[in-house]
């Protein structure tokens, strides 16, 4: 099960760009992706012609049954490369969930093996217009959905509601504890100019008053669907030293996976935690580093309960105690672990794991501006549930 990452710190992130995050952008997603990719390439001090690799995970994360149209509702690596007028040596898409960690892994592997010298990794997220995001008008349940939709079990809120209630019941957690997560995410998102929630912090009472959709999940436990694109440029560490920005090195990565057959979108709490322990061990084996040395753990928060699951499975607090850890100020950027210092998905909009990766990059390259945390040296960017996702370790120095 163990194995060290032979390319530790041999690949670095050297530039980025991020579009403004909007509920419904006035331009197509493809147009925003093109502009964002070009900005990231320029930010890295490179020219378009130097890019010879593209990676992404292009899934439209909705249960609403929307058509996936390349350049409109999704943007694949090949679409982006073609529209940039390039004929890259390497273009690939990550097929699973955890697209942020997965797409970075593909990019790192391509650079480390020499399959490409300069890779653009991007993520484009879309909010289809004129329909509710997850509403699905199906009247017949075929394939995997036949096992759950006829019972009314459907969509990601019920999916996350079951393990969250399992957690609440098992450990006696309160809604007041989770309010801390939301207040922290939105306070940090409010400081980020491109965030959908820029200048819109909330109070604990706002959270407690939010409409409950799938009890115990309320509106504010969910990130809001948006249009937005982020792009990053990765290259080999020796090439990175010749470029204008301080490189941020990839120190390791890990994925978790499902071990046993389950009903569609059935995520028992113990499945999530078991995979989370795998991810933690694999990260340490891969990097040779202890997770206790991570001073910038950017945990995934597309649904707020993931903060508890990641905190506990990665060992930042004891199993069953994340709710108390959070309530005692444990994840406050001021004085606690900066788990949501980048605002997360709850504080930015449904950008998947982009806020987590971007915060690692900005802080560790010293580009976070007035939000700079001077002490940060080792960051972790998580995406998705541990059992359908992964995490990437970033270092400010080559180790």
């Amino acid at each position: 099960m163990s194995g060290s990452f032979t390319a530790r710190c041999e690949v670095a992130v050297v530039g980025y760009a991020h579009s403004v995050i909007q509920r419904n952008a006035p331009r197509t997603l493809g147009a925003i992706a093109l502009e964002t990719a070009l900005s990231a390439i320029a930010d890295a001090g490179l020219t378009r012609e130097q890019i010879d690799g593209f990676t992404t995970g292009s899934l439209l994360p909705s249960a609403g049954g929307h058509a996936s149209v390349d350049g409109v509702s999704i943007v694949t690596s090949n679409w982006l490369a073609e529209k940039l007028g390039l004929n890259p040596r390497f273009a690939a898409g990550f097929q699973g969930f955890g697209q942020l960690a997965g797409g970075v892994m593909l990019a790192v592997n391509a650079v480390a093996t020499g399959a490409a010298d300069y890779v653009v990794f991007h993520r484009a997220l879309h909010n289809p217009r004129g329909v509710r995001y997850h509403v699905n008008p199906m009247t017949e349940a075929r394939g995997s959905s036949q096992w759950t939709a006829p019972q009314g079990y459907f969509g990601p809120l019920a999916m996350i509601g079951l393990p969250y209630n399992e957690y609440l019941q098992r450990y006696g957690a309160s809604r007041e504890a989770m309010a801390e997560v939301l207040v922290e995410a939105r306070a940090n998102g409010a400081r980020i100019p491109w965030s959908y929630w820029h200048n819109q912090p909330i109070t604990a009472q706002d959270y407690l008053d939010a409409r409950v959709i799938v009890d115990p999940i309320c509106m504010l436990d969910c990130d809001i669907p948006v249009d937005g694109v982020a792009a990053f440029v990765l290259t080999r560490a020796d090439r990175a030293r010749d470029l204008p920005n301080k490189p941020v090195y990839v120190a390791g990565y890990a994925q978790g996976s499902v071990r046993r057959p389950r009903l569609p979108v059935h995520w028992p709490l113990d499945d999530i935690m078991e995979a989370g322990f795998d991810v933690a061990r694999r990260l340490e084996d891969s990097s040779g580093l202890s997770l206790q040395n991570v001073d910038l753990p950017q945990l995934y928060d597309g649904f707020s309960p993931f903060i508890y699951f990641w905190l506990e499975s990665l060992g930042f607090c004891k199993v069953g105690e994340a709710h108390e850890f959070v309530q005692d100020g444990g994840i406050r950027t001021e004085g606690g672990l900066p788990v949501l210092s980048g605002g997360g998905a709850l504080g930015n909009g449904r950008m998947h794991g982009v806020p987590q990766m971007l915060e690692c990059y900005l802080q560790l390259s010293g580009r976070a501006g007035e939000r700079q945390i001077s002490s940060a040296t080792l960051g972790l960017a998580c995406h998705s549930s541990p059992h359908y996702g992964g995490a990437v370790l970033y270092s400010s120095e080559p180790l």
Binding site: V135, T139, Q146, Q151, L162, E166, I213, P261, L269
Partner: protein, 143 residues
């Protein structure tokens, strides 16, 4: 409600026909690997337990009793056919027949039923269309 927003009707296929046929008769019949005897729900195309190269499953009746591991209350359904049904409770049940064999269904005791982890339930069936019944659960009478 018009037919356009009816609740989703399961469409049986090769892997599921025996399950839905038994359900129509209000019998819970779960797939069982004929090689190693492991139950699996939903039925798969291979047995994850024994990995037999010639997979073969039989659907035999099981005791539908089990234990509540978690639940949610649907207050706003993303399936339009359930909008007239909200609020309703979905329970995540570990069936007695095999350790960690889980099934999710509606709890037919209504949205106000007091629930705890470990509560005992029995499988019951809802007839949702002619010849189509869907398994759900009801709290076992407390003694």
């Amino acid at each position: 409600m018009s037919d356009l927003v009816r609740q989703p009707i399961p469409v049986p296929d090769e892997q599921s026909a025996a399950f839905w046929s038994a359900a129509a008769d209000h019998v819970l019949a779960l797939a069982r690997c004929t090689h190693c005897g492991t139950r699996v729900h939903p039925a798969g195309v291979v047995c994850a337990q024994c990995l037999h190269p010639e997979p073969s499953f039989e659907f035999t009746p099981v005791d539908g009793r089990g234990t509540v591991r978690s639940w949610v209350v649907i207050r706003d359904s993303f399936l339009p056919g359930f909008r007239d049904e909200v609020p309703f409770v979905l329970v995540d049940v570990e069936l007695d027949v095999q350790s960690d064999l889980r099934m999710i269904g509606r709890l037919l005791d209504g949205p106000d039923a007091a629930l705890s982890q470990g509560d005992r339930v029995v499988t019951v069936f809802e007839d949702i269309a002619p010849g189509v019944a869907v398994p759900g659960f009801a709290l076992e009478a407390r003694t």
